[in-house]
């Protein structure tokens, strides 16, 4: 006999879209990176297997599910593509997992306002494919290497990603949102506040309430649709790889070429150990390796940009290398980054100015070297798996910078040590002024709140209490 909750949810979405099997509920508790296998130590004590998973296809179903959850006081955890790295979709109190990945329709492409409207569970690959058919593209192309990530998930995390150096994070291109509030009411933001208007503009009709939901880990509502800016797809692409004698020169060169808009995205290996780990065939004298790419509408413009790369990098004693590295890592159209770096990694992703990238690097290297004994060997090079990279996930002059390390994920005691090291790494980063773009629950929140004014935290708490009086939606995220 199925539970009352199962029967009620089945009535709302159909029984084929609900499961309370233990294995089905366990399958929706994982995400990417070292934090991803939530049923294993050190996270197994923090994750609670949900009672049930439900997969709506429409906004009114989401609304009904939240009303039901309120009546039953059941916690609801929102899940998009399940590819995050912050444990934002990991249930901590059981309850209902609201899997939005069947809200996956591109609803409208409006060429007059150059915008696309899609359901929140639409993967980036799908959006890009639909836009490409008509000669368009998103600015931000998706989180690094993750075509399975969804629009709603990325917006809820303020995720960085490919092409961010030129176009910024996806959040910067958001025009309108449709949001189901924790108590089930549906609102539209931006130009859509006027029910007769299109999804064409964000900053109008008074308060920019859109921003409340971006990066909020779903604590204030469920994003169910988004209107996002689109661009004409470029025809020409070029890649370049450059080696530098030191990180300072690499950053100064990058800053010069990106500030004039000649870099769509880049990927920078910030020290020799990382180069040896990722691109061991790079010339031995290179202490920083930079891969860049750009796309243009005009071939002459492309030529001019590539010429500029060479001129600027020459000025900083850069060496022009085989563009293979840039093709593979900087544009990442084939998912290399996810495959080679995201699996099992402990990460401290943060936003940081390009020219300040070298600051604090020595402290991080020291921390890693002191703890190399717990790190696993890289299967290809035999080196200890740790590194320092920066990429163009955020709009110039900011970079998306990451320190990472890997341990044997199957060893619980090593994982406990890694967990402690991870917190030390994040504390080091946040303490020097790095800003985590995603937040989640486990890694970044405690470090950030100790540096924020208490009134800021209490303000968020007040909003949460007012909009979600029973605290059912993504409880614990942002430590709310």
């Amino acid at each position: 006999m199925k539970s009352l909750l199962y029967r009620q949810l089945s009535e709302l979405v159909g029984p084929e879209r609900v499961s309370d099997e233990e294995f089905a509920c366990l399958a929706v508790t994982v995400e990417s990176a070292a934090t991803g296998l939530s049923f294993l130590p050190p996270f197994s004590g923090k994750m609670v297997v949900p009672e049930i998973v439900v997969k709506p296809t429409a906004t009114d179903q989401v609304s009904s599910i939240l009303r039901l959850a309120n009546r039953l006081r059941k916690p609801v955890v929102i899940r998009g593509g399940g590819t995050g790295t912050s444990m934002a979709s990991v249930p901590t109190q059981g309850g209902i997992v609201l899997d939005l990945s069947d809200m996956n329709q591109v609803l409208d492409i409006d060429e007059s306002s150059m915008a696309v409207r899609a359901q929140a569970g639409t993967p980036f690959g799908t959006v890009r494919h639909e836009l490409a058919k008509r000669g368009y593209r998103l600015g931000y192309l998706g989180p690094h290497g993750t075509w399975g990530a969804t629009l709603g998930g990325v917006l809820s995390m303020n995720s960085t990603g490919v092409a961010g150096s030129k176009y910024g994070q996806l959040s910067e291109d958001v025009l309108t949102l449709q949001v189901v509030l924790p108590t089930g009411e549906v609102i539209e933001t931006g130009s859509r506040v006027n029910s007769r208007a299109n999804f064409s503009f964000r900053y109008c009709n008074g308060v920019d309430i859109t921003g409340l939901y971006l990066g909020s880990c779903g604590v204030f509502g469920v994003i169910t649709e988004a209107g996002v800016r689109i661009y004409v797809k470029e025809k020409h692409i070029a890649h370049g790889t450059f080696g530098f004698k030191d990180l300072n020169r690499a950053c100064r060169a990058l800053h010069e070429i990106s500030r004039v808009g000649y870099v769509e995205d880049y990927y920078m290996l910030r020290d020799r150990h990382t180069i040896d780990l990722v691109e061991p065939n790079a010339p031995k004298e290179a202490q920083a390796l930079l891969g860049v790419f750009t796309e243009t509408h005009d071939s002459r413009e492309l030529e001019a940009q590539v010429h500029n790369w060479k001129e600027v990098t020459d000025n900083y004693d850069g060496v022009n290398l085989d563009p293979k590295f840039a093709k593979e890592w900087a544009s990442d159209f084939k998912g290399v980054i996810h495959a080679k770096t995201q699996s099992q990694l402990w990460l401290d992703c943060h936003i940081w100015p390009i020219l300040r990238i070298p600051e604090g690097q020595d402290d991080m290297v020291r921390l890693f070297k002191e703890n190399e004994s717990i790190m696993s060997e890289d299967p290809n090079t035999g080196l200890r798996s740790w590194g320092l990279v920066s990429a163009g996930g955020a709009k110039h002059p900011m970079s998306y910078s990451v320190s990472f390390f890997r341990v044997d994920r199957s060893n619980p005691s090593t994982m406990m040590k890694a967990y402690e090291l991870w917190h030390r790494m994040i504390e080091l980063t946040v303490n020097k002024g790095g800003c985590p773009y995603y937040f989640g629950r486990e890694g970044l929140a405690p470090h950030l709140w100790t540096k924020a004014a208490p009134s800021y935290y209490y303000y968020l708490k007040t909003i949460k209490q007012a909009t979600d009086p029973r605290n059912i939606l993504n409880p614990g995220q942002l430590m709310l």
Binding site: R17, F23, A24, A27, S44, P123, G148, G335, P379
Partner: protein, 389 residues
């Protein structure tokens, strides 16, 4: 546990979800897992299955009866491994993991699906998947007088022998034109064992493999020609895992035909004015990496208009019948095969060629109403050669 063999892969799975329903022009994939596409719950996705397998392996999830249906719902098509960007073992082999999980579930005493029990009974008693009289197996060859010993042996398989004798006859006659005289095991040929390799009955699979291996060895064959993709994969890859080194060469008929055409040993002269496309059987394509040979053969037929379906080669969708899915979940098979035939319809194909009699069986059920003919490769080659079969 059998899934323990995949421990490293399970830990390396980065949960990127490429294997689920990725659409990527850059990667050339347009939705990935057919089962996930129709079932739509995470646990039916390759990523979900990998999570469940790891949880079971590490003792966080008990092996229970409901898991049996889940494990048996995988097509074994390998498309998830083909797209998987994992840094180890060329991708996470979820098909292999589900195959191992089937064994683990049965090893702890859980009951297999009824269709599996029936299939195993058929093969144990009659040595063919249909449970039909074993004497009928050889009827396609009655007038051909094939010797039981010789250098090049033909392994026909159950589906071809019982359901598609024209494929077997076409193969013999085409190769005769090239001066190749095939030998044939007759009723000494048993089912190749591929269903048992996938249904968790590994002991029966091993017995069959050893039995067929000895029979082939006794025939003195230096080369074995298979027309069925499943038989070819079993003989060429699975048998090696079971019996070790194999002292004869295994060749799929598509490779042999492509070679004979290239050497001008056979000529395809009769025009066929049709729009043709090719469906990659999973066992031949992703599992054995034979993509070009059948296409090379088809493109030699005069006056055809060859068109590729949107999903082809390593991103081709399974017909829907892989890994005994058609026996266990026939409705799901039908939905998947409809989608596959829909792709052929989309490009205006008059006929779909393939190299697997199971694919033909599955696809034919939905192709006829769409007025799309489904051919086995040797049959259309024989037609283009003007041979009476």
């Amino acid at each position: 546990m059998e899934i323990g063999k995949y421990r490293n892969q399970l830990y390396w799975c980065s949960k990127c979800a490429y294997c689920r329903d990725t659409i990527s022009d850059e990667l050339g994939y347009y939705k990935v897992c057919p089962i996930y596409e129709f079932k739509r719950m995470e646990h039916f996705s390759p990523r979900g299955r990998a999570t469940i397998a790891l949880a079971a392996l590490e003792g966080y999830l008990p092996l229970t009866q409901p898991l049996v249906d889940l494990a048996f719902s995988c097509l074994g098509c390998g498309i998830c491994k083909a797209i998987c960007p994992s840094a180890v073992d060329e991708g996470v082999d979820v098909a292999g993991i589900m195959r191992a999980m089937r064994q683990d579930l049965l090893n702890v005493g859980l009951k297999p699906p009824e269709a599996v029990i029936e299939l195993d009974k058929n093969i144990a008693q009659t040595h063919n998947v249909f449970g039909e009289d074993s004497a009928k197996r050889t009827s396609w060859s009655n007038d051909l007088e094939l010797p039981d010993k010789g250098d090049i042996l033909y392994f026909a398989g159950c589906y071809t022998s019982y359901r598609y004798p024209e494929t077997a006859r076409a193969t013999v006659k085409i190769l005769e034109q090239a001066g190749i005289h095939l030998s044939y095991l007759g009723d000494e040929e048993w089912c190749c064992g591929v269903p048992q390799l996938w249904d968790g009955n590994s002991s029966l699979a091993r017995d069959i493999a050893r039995r067929n291996f000895e029979a082939i060895k006794k025939s003195g064959a230096k080369t074995v020609v298979a027309t069925c993709a499943g038989c070819y994969h079993a003989l060429n890859s699975n048998y090696r895992e079971i019996v070790g080194e194999i002292p004869f060469e295994i060749v799929h008929v598509s490779t042999l035909l492509a070679d004979l055409i290239a050497k001008d040993k056979i000529r395809l002269r009769k025009p066929i004015e049709k729009v043709l496309t090719y469906h990659d059987p999973c066992h031949l394509g992703r599992h054995e990496k034979i993509y070009d040979a059948p296409r090379d053969v088809i493109k030699n037929i005069p006056q055809i208009d060859y068109r590729e379906m949107l999903r082809s080669k390593n991103s081709a969708w399974c017909c829907g019948g892989g890994a005994i899915e058609s026996a266990v979940f026939p409705n799901l098979t039908k939905e998947i095969s409809k989608a596959r035939i829909g792709e052929a319809k989309e490009i205006g194909a008059d006929a779909l060629i393939t190299s697997c009699p199971l694919c033909i069986t599955i696809l034919n059920r939905v192709a006829k109403p769409q007025k799309i003919q489904v051919y086995d490769l040797p049959v259309i080659v024989a037609e283009a050669m003007g041979l009476e079969i």
